[in-house]
Amino acid sequence: MKEGPSPNGGLVVALDIGKSFAAVQALAPLSLTVHRGEKVALAGPSGSGKTTLLYLLAGIIQPDQGSVSIDGRRLSDLRPGGELAGLVSVMHQQFDLVPNLPVVHNVLAGRLGRWSLLRSILSLVWPQERQLAQDTLTQLGIGDKLQERTSRLSGGEQQRVALARLLVQASLIVLADEPVSSLDPARADDMLRLMTGLVESSGKSLVVSLHSPDLIRKYFSRVVGLREGLVQFDLPVEQMSDGVLERLYQLDDDNSRVAGVAVT
């Protein structure tokens, strides 16, 4: 694909990307277009290729074939660092914060891609763009934690700090790899409400892998089902029936037979 306006006005365009690790095909070649403002849920059992797809979209790993472009720019042409950080940000399953830094520095770490080296070093003494960090944390309901040591925060608060870092990074697209898998139902709901709300208000796109049908229906506009590295369906969320998801997660016949034996 040449540089230029992306087809169909897609913000993220993945063309025929595939990935294998050693002899195992993690993701069969697939194409995927995500539009501006779209909230895409990735569903599928463990090992179905969700994380691989997210990492490919984020430029963390390179596809064996095909290409990914965001806002008309091919990821393989970008150097890692500032430019890539402006296009795409990723939230991992763990919060991945630096535990013994104050919250303010963990939030402002999202700006490191935009700051000069001097400014980054200076910021450890006099936090730069402190107001931005303060406002973002206030938006997330933990405005009083700015100076707290990050390791002293609860799990839920730490996840908000990670989200704040993502927000100040201000990338065009936000990816999240099972961000709510370690949270209880109320906190998972709260987290997705914050994520989708903030993404909506700033006109970004969101791609999140998660399992809960209720949360997918409640917060997302589109759902992509993956299984064994293959796309099983790609539907507007209104057309997602219970049966479709059930089949996606169903154990193989072999597996269910084994499970049956184990039970009896």
């Binding site: 984020a58 963390i60 890692p80 660092g81 500032g82 430019e83 890539l84 950080a85 402006g86 940000s89 990723v90 991992h92 763990q94 991945d96 914060l97 630096v98 535990p99 013994n100 830094l101 520095h105 770490a109 999202g110 700006r111 490191l112 891609g113 935009r114 080296l117 980054s120 070093i121 450890l124 040591r149 390791s151 002293r152 990670a162 870092r165 990074q169």
Partner: protein, 261 residues
Amino acid sequence: MWRLLENRRLLSLLLGAAFVWSLVSVDWGGAFVHAGGIGTLQQFLLAAFPPELSPAFLRIGLNAAWQTTTFAVASLTIAVVIGLPSGVLASGQLIPRSRRGSSVALGARLLLAVIRSVHELVWAVIFVAAFGFSSLAAILAIAIPYGGILGRIYGERLADVPEEPLRALRASGASPITVLIYGRMPMALPDLLSYTFYRLECAIRAAAIMSFVGIRGLGFEIQLSLQELLFSQVWTLLMFLVALVVLVDIWSTRVRRSLAA
């Protein structure tokens, strides 16, 4: 051959055999124990009850302890100045995944190995030959090998922090240097500090020993008192030495506690 040496049972057998052999080859009769020393030892131990506690001598001891502390702190400060940058380079994390980066790391590691493999007393002999008996000789003699030791430990600790937060920093656009100061440094800091405090204790010991290159301090006073066989004074000075080490230990515990989560 190397594989054979890694066999733990064989290694234990070899070491055990060496030990037994050493026992057999000692000449147990005659001059192995110098009997005349027992009297002196008795005299020395008895002098501890009580040690010399006259105000005049305590003032001398306090003054000497202060001098030893200043030498130790000065040496360790220079050691940190040597150790931190070279440790960062030796960790190989500043210029990752390039041929130039790994040769810089290798060079730094080699330099650190060279300067720490020579004992501070040997450095002292070298510097006395160069500068004469002076404070500078003593300070450098401690600072250089300690810099080598600190650099090695710093490098290890900086390389050995959890990878996930670093990955997240890189993903938000941080360069290797900012990953170092926003990720590796803060995560390794408690370890780095606690090891540096331990080295301060060692530096106090070493600074006391350095009296033989002509610096004042506890070692110098101990030498004087020993020459005049005033053992109760020696005990007082040793108490000052122990007190210094205990003080550093308390200080380091406080700092570590304030850093702990």
